[in-house]
């Protein structure tokens, strides 16, 4: 399976009914495809909408209705539009249940760096710092390595997004949970051994004696 689709299918299981969810641009957006349609989940986009729906049919796009990446979306019945101060009030004020973001690095303390590579790629933090600081749960959806290098590091060398540790990291190899004792390997992807995860990870992992296989959304 494509690594990104696999990650999205695992993250989808973290999205519970009757919650307010923010999906970041890129990989996290794929998660919406695997969340059951019959449960009440509201997707929030920080550019100012609660109740965002899927991409509209071609030719029926509304120019004034997009997600945070500028892509056309729809609004579901009961959707609400917000200005930017209200939108971030939801995020910072503890009203957002889950945010799913991409990552460049996660360190042994569970801290995320995802907005800048000094001297090279300066995207800007956009809403990421507010999301990681304020959402009730922060899930990082990222590939385990980039160009052969582990994205898990002892201490982030890239600028941090927040001091707050994230809640969960899902990669194509594993599910890793930052806990007081360190990064704990809680699941491995189908066909991946705990040793393979350890080998692909450039910081200490706490590995329980038995690590279950990652379940995936249909």
């Amino acid at each position: 399976m494509d690594p990104k689709q696999l990650i999205a299918k695992r993250v989808a299981l973290e999205i519970k009914p009757r919650t307010l969810v923010n999906l970041g641009i890129g990989l996290p957006t794929l998660v919406a495809s695997y969340v059951p349609r019959d449960v009440l989940i509201a997707f929030q986009s920080e550019n100012g909408i609660i109740g965002m729906g899927i991409r509209p049919p071609e030719g029926l796009e509304t120019p004034d209705l997009t997600d945070a990446g500028g892509g056309h979306v729809t609004a579901l019945p009961g959707a609400t539009a917000l200005d930017s101060a209200e939108s971030f009030g939801f995020i910072r004020g503890g009203h957002l249940d889950v945010t799913v973001l991409g990552g460049l690095q996660v360190d042994s303390g569970g801290r995320l760096a995802n907005w800048m590579v000094p001297g090279k790629m300066v995207a800007g933090m956009g809403g990421a710092m507010d999301l990681v600081t304020g959402a009730r749960r922060v899930i990082v959806a990222m590939t385990h390595t980039a160009k052969g290098e582990s994205k898990f590091v002892e201490t982030c060398t890239l600028p941090l997004t927040s001091l707050r540790p994230v809640s969960l990291v899902v990669t194509e190899l594993a599910v890793i949970e930052p806990r007081p004792e360190g990064l704990v390997l809680i699941e491995t992807a189908p066909g991946v051994s705990a040793q393979q995860v350890i080998d692909a990870t450039a910081c200490r992992l706490v590995v329980p004696t038995s690590v279950p296989e990652m379940p995936l959304a249909a």
Partner: protein
């Protein structure tokens, strides 16, 4: 009742070196006619406060491509390689602000507050040079208000008083910026008679709007003489 101001006249009011707040998020909710006209006039040394710099040649990106901007205060530049290029070469000074903090700094500027306290950015690069305050054991950054000489606002509808209604995700920073600038210039997709918009529906009071841009002419031109068009 407001007079419909022609775009050339509105742009003439904006001098080189002015500080502009420009509504929009990835150009959605950005007053494109105004921004295009400013870029077309080749204004220089502007300070621009906006959510992002969109893409080259689009929204705020038009001003970047034309090198109108000296200083940019935004949350995100990742979609505009031209902004990154000018920043890395030192032509353009960029202050990156977390998006929620940017919204609150603009709100503080417009609402008469001395600043806001936010937990966002504590311990990161966003905290550099800022005061931090501990309240009941939690650390907050002191974020100072932002104001501008001009706010460039885009609305879906305006009535003759300049009362504004926004549409869906095109609202974003527009109502906040309309409170935070000395002169507010509004560009509306549609202008309707007074009374069409109900008091509960109006999102920005026309009291704030100094200049209401004339409607887009039916042939799309900006400079056609009004008398000629009427004939």
């Amino acid at each position: 009742m407001k007079r419909a101001t022609r775009i050339a006249e509105a742009v003439e009011m904006i001098p080189d070196g002015a500080t502009l707040m420009i509504g929009g998020f990835m150009a959605v909710g950005t007053p494109e006619r105004l921004v295009a006209a400013i870029a077309g006039r080749g204004r220089r040394n502007l300070t621009v406060i906006a959510n992002d710099s969109a893409r080259p040649g689009l929204g705020v990106g038009r001003l970047i491509s034309q090198k109108c901007v000296k200083r940019l205060i935004v949350s995100h530049i990742g979609t505009n390689p031209e902004t990154q290029k000018q920043m890395l070469s030192g032509e353009l000074e960029v202050e990156l602000v977390p998006q929620g903090t940017l919204a609150e700094r603009i709100r503080a500027g417009g609402y008469g507050l001395g600043g806001v306290l936010t937990p966002t950015g504590v311990g990161t690069l966003a905290a550099e040079g800022k005061r931090a305050i501990d309240i009941d054991g939690q650390t907050f950054l002191v974020e100072l208000p932002l104001r501008a000489d001009f706010a460039l606002i885009r609305a879906a509808q305006s009535d003759y008083y300049g009362n504004l209604v926004y549409m869906l995700t095109a609202r974003n920073f527009n109502p906040l910026m309309a409170m935070a600038a000395t002169t507010v210039i509004a560009e509306a997709d549609q202008i309707v008679p007074i009374g069409v918009l109900s008091p509960d529906q109006i999102q920005t009071s026309g009291v704030l709007v100094d200049i209401l841009l004339e409607r887009r002419s039916s042939d799309g031109s900006e400079t056609a003489d009004r008398e000629t068009r009427r004939a």
